[in-house]
């Protein structure tokens, strides 16, 4: 159509600077606050360095169980959330390998009330044995419910294939471990790592009418000191590599598959190089795995790749769910794409995509309170400098194709890969063996964790 306007030529992007947080110490704790005028729904987070790796080896899963039981509040019996709901507020808690994060989201006008409820729930919860037991039973049952989802079944099996030690067991613990936890273990964990330990408080939202200091006092009064995060040395992957493990789902019309290798720890990785490589391989819609498996072959609804970088170790994972008859071929495609990236590096187009999406895209990435509070949590957990986001942008801006090529060679290690497939073993085994990836073992999904 001749009257159609031609493609616009864009002007230069506005420069973006991550909001400068206001830092203050109140009652022995540190507050990091970001004022976002107009954001009337605020986000508050309290960060403790008490994640999965801080658990005793005979209490694996206790952090997750504790974070669940906190929701029972100071009166027990799941009393916290209904109180918060009256204020339009919502409790949030989560455990990562390196952190224990609690928080509340609330309309700014209700933040003081919501914070009072939050603080007493975190510092002086009832932790009644009957609540612990109810949550514990729910966690075990939920473990099995989650395992009925193919991609979770495959994803959870990666840990014990890649590691021995703590990383081998799921973050929230395995079913027998959760079952063995006691109310005393929860109380001990809470007393040692949360109750009197100040932590770091993050508050993000329109703070024009908020007394941040009073919020801090509500959270920190009566606490003191801090605990040092515990380190775990990553162990080598057990068994011959590469190899394939099939978790049998008889009759499944699709296979959920994960290709995983160990990766360096968060602090040992140059983030722009690592994320650049995972983006090109599978971090964007236009990445190689998605284009090949979805947009050219139509084998899947989507294919992805990312690093899971922890304080003391990491994992690289590529995952997808494919039509059962195309499973073996899809695995070969993933290995071929990894090999091609290692051999030939990235194209100029891919370099620009990685560079621009992580620089000019920052205003989009940080357009909500939640996104900014998540970035601040990450900065606290990994001891990153205040200008971390701006440094990261500088790192992406300076990236070269050569950087990404060498990163691909260092970080993509197909010879050390484990491939986990949740699918129909009878239909898959011969074809998987023929791919020549490595030894193929079939395990029963139901007994894998016993």
């Amino acid at each position: 159509m001749s009257t159609r306007p031609s493609r616009p030529v864009l002007g230069p992007p506005e420069s973006y600077t991550f909001p400068t947080p206001q830092r203050m110490r109140v009652a022995g704790g540190e507050i990091i606050a970001v004022d976002l005028p107009g954001q009337s729904y605020a986000s508050l987070r309290l960060v403790h360095p008490a994640g999965g790796v801080s658990e005793r080896s005979d209490q694996v899963g206790v952090a997750k169980l504790t974070s669940e039981v906190l929701e029972d509040g100071i009166h027990g019996n799941s009393s916290l959330a209904p109180e918060l709901e009256k204020h339009g507020a919502e409790w949030t808690s989560g455990v990562t390998w390196d952190s224990f994060v609690t928080g509340v989201d609330a309309p700014v006008g209700r933040l003081p009330d919501a914070t009072s409820l939050f603080a007493e729930a975190v510092r002086t919860p009832a932790l009644r044995p009957e609540d612990v037991q109810r949550r514990q039973e729910q966690l075990v049952e939920r473990f099995w419910v989650d395992m009925s989802v193919p991609r979770t079944l495959a994803g959870r099996a990666v840990g014990p294939q890649l590691f021995t030690g703590r990383y081998a067991t799921p973050l929230g613990g395995g079913p027998s471990g959760i079952q063995a936890l006691t109310p005393e273990a929860v109380s001990q964990f809470h007393a040692a790592a949360i109750a009197g330990v100040a932590g770091t408080l993050i508050v993000v939202g329109d703070l024009s009418t908020i007394d941040v200091e009073a919020i801090g006092k509500a959270v920190f009064t009566g606490t003191s000191g801090s605990v040092q995060p515990r380190s775990v040395a990553p162990e080598p992957t057990p068994g011959p590599l590469p190899r394939v493990v099939v978790l049998d789902r008889p009759g499944a019309v699709q296979s959920a598959l994960v290709l995983a290798t160990q990766a360096p720890s968060r602090r040992d990785v140059d983030l722009p190089r690592a994320e650049g490589v995972s983006s090109v391989l599978g971090g964007m819609f236009g990445s190689r795995l998605n284009m090949e498996l979805r947009e050219r072959r139509g084998y899947t609804y989507g294919a992805h790749c990312r690093f899971d970088l922890r304080r003391d170790g990491g994992v690289l994972m590529a995952n997808t769910e494919v039509d059962t008859p195309t499973t073996a071929e899809s695995i070969s495609v993933i290995f071929d794409e990894i090999e091609r990236l290692r051999r030939d590096g990235v194209t100029e187009d891919e370099l620009v995509a990685v560079r621009d999406s992580n620089t000019v895209g920052l205003p989009v990435q940080y357009s909500t309170s939640w996104a900014i509070s998540s970035a601040l949590v990450e900065m606290v957990v990994h001891d990153l400098p205040e200008d971390h986001v701006d440094r990261l942008r500088a790192g992406f801006e300076a990236l070269t194709a050569e950087d990404l090529h060498t990163a691909a060679q260092e970080l993509l290690r197909p010879d050390e890969a484990v491939v986990v497939v949740a699918g129909d073993a009878e239909a898959l085994t011969d074809a998987l063996t023929e791919t020549g990836v490595g030894q193929v073992t079939v395990r029963q999904a139901e007994t894998y964790w016993e």
Binding site: G38, V253, T300, T359, V360, V364
Partner: protein, 437 residues
Amino acid sequence: MQALVSTNGATDSLRCYTLDNGLRLVTAPASTGQVAAVNLWYGVGSRHEVPGRTGFAHLFEHLMFQGSGSVAKGEHFEAIERLGGEMNASTSTDRTNYYETVPQHALDLALWLEADRLATLREGMTQEVLDNQRDVVKNERRQRYDNMPYGTALERILRLAYPEGHPYHHPTIGSMEDLDAADLNYVLSFHERHYGPDNLVLTVVSSLDPSDVHERVETYFGSIPRRSEVAAAPDATLDGPIGGPVRETVTEPCPAPRLYLGHRVGPYGSREFDVMHMAMAVLGEGQGSRLYRRLVVERELAMDTGGTDALVLPFRYTPSLALVTMMAREGVSGDQLEAAILEEIAQLAEGVDADELERARAVLERDHLQTLASPSGLADSLGSCAQLFDDPGAALTWPSRWADITPDEVAAAARRLLTDENRLILRFEPEAEDAEQ
């Protein structure tokens, strides 16, 4: 307790324009700078599909990313991703939605890409592209429905709730057979029938002056002609109860018995819908809700999902569906759980406390505030209300609809609507060998 949301003057910042070709534009300011959220609501959804062509509106949504007159296959995604933008699309019974949030300097590119596929999609369409996306959608169906425990629930619920031949009888994903039967001519005619500026609400949330946005939209969309013929929507009117209780029990590999209880209620936008929305929040939204307190905490019959046990599926052009779903705890049978849920539903009809209604209202207001807290959520809500109700401001003032709903009104609606006669019950039961483990 004072309401969380003040709606006085909330709509002052909105601007609405209608282009000569019928395109409706809504603009609103963003609460964070340097971004532009672009959101398109086309008035076409799976309700427009005819028997033998189910799944087509959604398949078509995929094809909209596959290239048009001036844009190559994959280029739309690539261009937005390169800007660090966020984008996607979704199809429901009532509409098809496309959106992208981009750095503000790239607003023109987002508008140009959207305008190009509206005006010239048919020039980029090929058999090869259709075949590829048909396979992708079939794998989406496998991933979300066929290879997922309880994945076919929605499909079965719609079948039970709406009669054969009714436009809401089938889910948006469609059937494998109908997807296989999709042909290129039909793709081209679908675009012609449904994709015109006169069937589109375009919303832009940004820091730009509204008249500037209007001018840009005029530049990119102004020359696109209206549809030559407005496609008729199938008649979806439906009176009366479901004619129940209608029941389906599915035995398949799944971790635990799971119940879905559905009831026809008023269409989205009606007073009856709002009242039942509050009733469902009292019953099953949040951890202060009755189902959570009674069946999860006190009686320990149901799995803890954090208080997401009841909702209303909002349908604009036919009765909506008030739905309760819960999964049984270990050792609890489907019969036990079903009886317990029915008991709670029956009690709702007997009365609702003012306190629990206030909690429910606060939970709904919280959801409302959370939705509007991001530029893309705000744009989506404005587009929704403009397309479905011709009233974008309703997106901001929606909580006022709940303000005068009383406990008696909720209980009366529950008595009238949450009845056996108006109920469908779908139950999943694990296969016997699984149940023994």
